[in-house]
């Protein structure tokens, strides 16, 4: 699920580079990870734990927990609540992550 013609309204801010699924994303300082991905045409952030269907951003303000991604190996990070920083490694979250030591 990609957006064919994403459009950024505000082009200001220094560029910040990070990786999404191995692909380089150029964000702007102050972007959230979710915003940077949306501005790069990426909408598919995780797969539903229940159905496996793709999920993306919904509320962009930290309440819906739809935008969960894996960042630098840590699962269940809210992309809309995480500011971009140079060199982040962001991955699609597939299904339910094992958190902590597995039982």
């Amino acid at each position: 699920m990609t957006d064919p013609s994403p459009r950024r309204l505000d082009e200001s801010g220094a560029p910040v580079r990070f990786e999404f699924e191995g692909r380089e994303i150029v964000a702007r300082e102050g972007d959230s990870v979710a915003l940077a991905l949306a501005a790069s045409g990426i909408r598919h952030l995780r797969d539903s734990v229940v159905s496996g269907d793709p999920r993306g951003m919904y509320c962009m303000m930290g309440t819906c927990f739809d935008c969960l991604v894996e960042i630098d190996g840590q699962p269940n990070r809210q992309a809309c609540m995480t500011p971009v920083s140079e060199g982040l490694n962001v991955r699609i979250q597939r299904g339910a992550p094992v958190v902590g030591e597995s039982a």
Binding site: V49, F65, G95, A96, V98, V99, G100, E101, A103
Partner: protein, 367 residues
């Protein structure tokens, strides 16, 4: 004979009764107060729980067990009619024990229940730590044992309520929000219920307004002694399945979130969260399952339980106002199936069956 029944209160209790009444061919209108109301049905833990219920009142143990037996069919009916899966599962349930004293007290409780109800009516057994580890390998070093009952299960309470509301609409029932009952008066053979949305007339009335029953009861000659008790709940981020059955402190939902619960506070009708209780809930859950310590909590809330003063349900028809029934209980999730499939048919037939006599509020009057 079809009557028009007004059900006051659209929580789990009123909705289960309304669903059952519609199944009996009654014409039903639900009057519900609205979003500002105290609503236990929107803030509970979601256990369909049998073990430990009914110590001191064997009829309550049997009634609870009856509901648990009906739950699978009830959940299927709701899913078929409303398209909402309740997430009900019955893998059995575990009460975890963190000290030898707690284990012994629980063993005594289970023995009492067996003696009174017989093995078939109850059926919880004590597992020592070794046996428990085979079922729940994630338990912490402080857990000395558990009490296991195959009759226990859990459901998503919000989806259960939504399923009920969907099925009620499909069966032709009406649900009216913003219609808190202000008074109930006689109107010919039936009753008139005054609300901000106008006056509604019914041949019969079911009081299922949770705490509201206490204030509505006197209008119809009923004294319903209820007390509030707050419970707080935490919900974690989703995690891979690790908990094959619900416990009384934590349960994992079908979507992977972990719910922490089981606090009891006497703080009146307030339902706010508080740090000390959240801390204790977390600490206790982590003692039971240490790896939960690394989970992030995403939400917390408080809700007010509707408890009768002795903790057992109240089912009663008013003597001065025949055709007016009062329904109150703590475990409205657990009892939803019995309310829909056993209690509602009695109300539709016009009288509670004598076996429910012990649940009358008369047990509170000592004259």
């Amino acid at each position: 004979m079809s009557a028009h029944v007004i059900v006051i209160g659209g929580g789990l209790v009123g909705s289960a009764v309304a669903f059952g009444l519609l199944g009996e061919g009654q014409d039903v209108t639900i009057l519900d107060e609205g979003d500002i109301a105290l609503r236990a049905s929107r803030g509970n833990f979601g256990l369909v729980w049998v073990q430990s219920k009914g110590d001191g009142m064997p009829e309550y143990a049997q009634w609870t067990r009856r509901s648990a037996d009906l739950w699978s069919g009830f959940a299927e009916e709701l899913a078929d009619e409303s398209g909402v899966e309740t997430g009900y599962a019955k893998p059995g349930g575990m009460h975890l024990l963190l000290s030898e004293e707690a284990l012994e007290a629980r063993r005594d409780l289970n023995n009492r229940m067996h003696n009174v109800n017989g093995a078939a009516g109850y059926g919880a057994e004590i597992l020592d730590r070794k046996a428990l580890l085979e079922v729940l390998p994630g338990i912490g070093p402080d857990v000395v044992g558990g009490s296991y009952s195959p009759h226990d299960g859990h459901t998503n309470p919000l989806r259960t309520l939504r399923g009920l509301h969907g099925a009620i609409a499909r069966r032709g029932g009406r649900y009216i929000s913003g219609a808190g009952a202000q008074s109930i008066t006689r109107d010919g053979e039936g009753y008139a219920v005054e609300t901000p949305k106008g006056t509604f007339r019914g041949d019969r009335v079911v009081l299922a307004a949770g705490h509201g029953n206490k204030w509505l009861g006197p209008d119809v000659g009923l004294d319903i002694p209820l007390r509030p008790q707050k419970g707080q709940i935490l919900v974690s981020e989703r995690t891979a399945p690790f908990l094959p059955m619900p416990t009384h402190v934590v349960r994992q939902t079908d979507e992977g979130s972990v719910m922490f619960g089981d606090s009891h506070e006497d703080t009146g009708y307030g339902d706010t969260s508080s740090t000390d209780v959240i801390r204790d809930l977390s600490a206790n859950a982590i003692r039971c399952f240490p790896h939960l310590a690394s989970l992030r909590i995403v939400r917390s809330w408080g809700a007010v339980r509707v408890l009768s003063t002795d903790g057992f349900p109240i089912y009663q028809e008013s003597e001065s106002h025949p055709g007016v029934f009062s329904v109150n209980c703590h475990s409205g999730v657990t009892l939803a199936a019995a309310h829909a499939l056993e209690l509602a048919p009695m109300i539709a037939a016009g009288a509670l069956s004598p076996e429910l006599g012990v649940f009358s509020a008369k047990r509170f009057s000592h004259d």
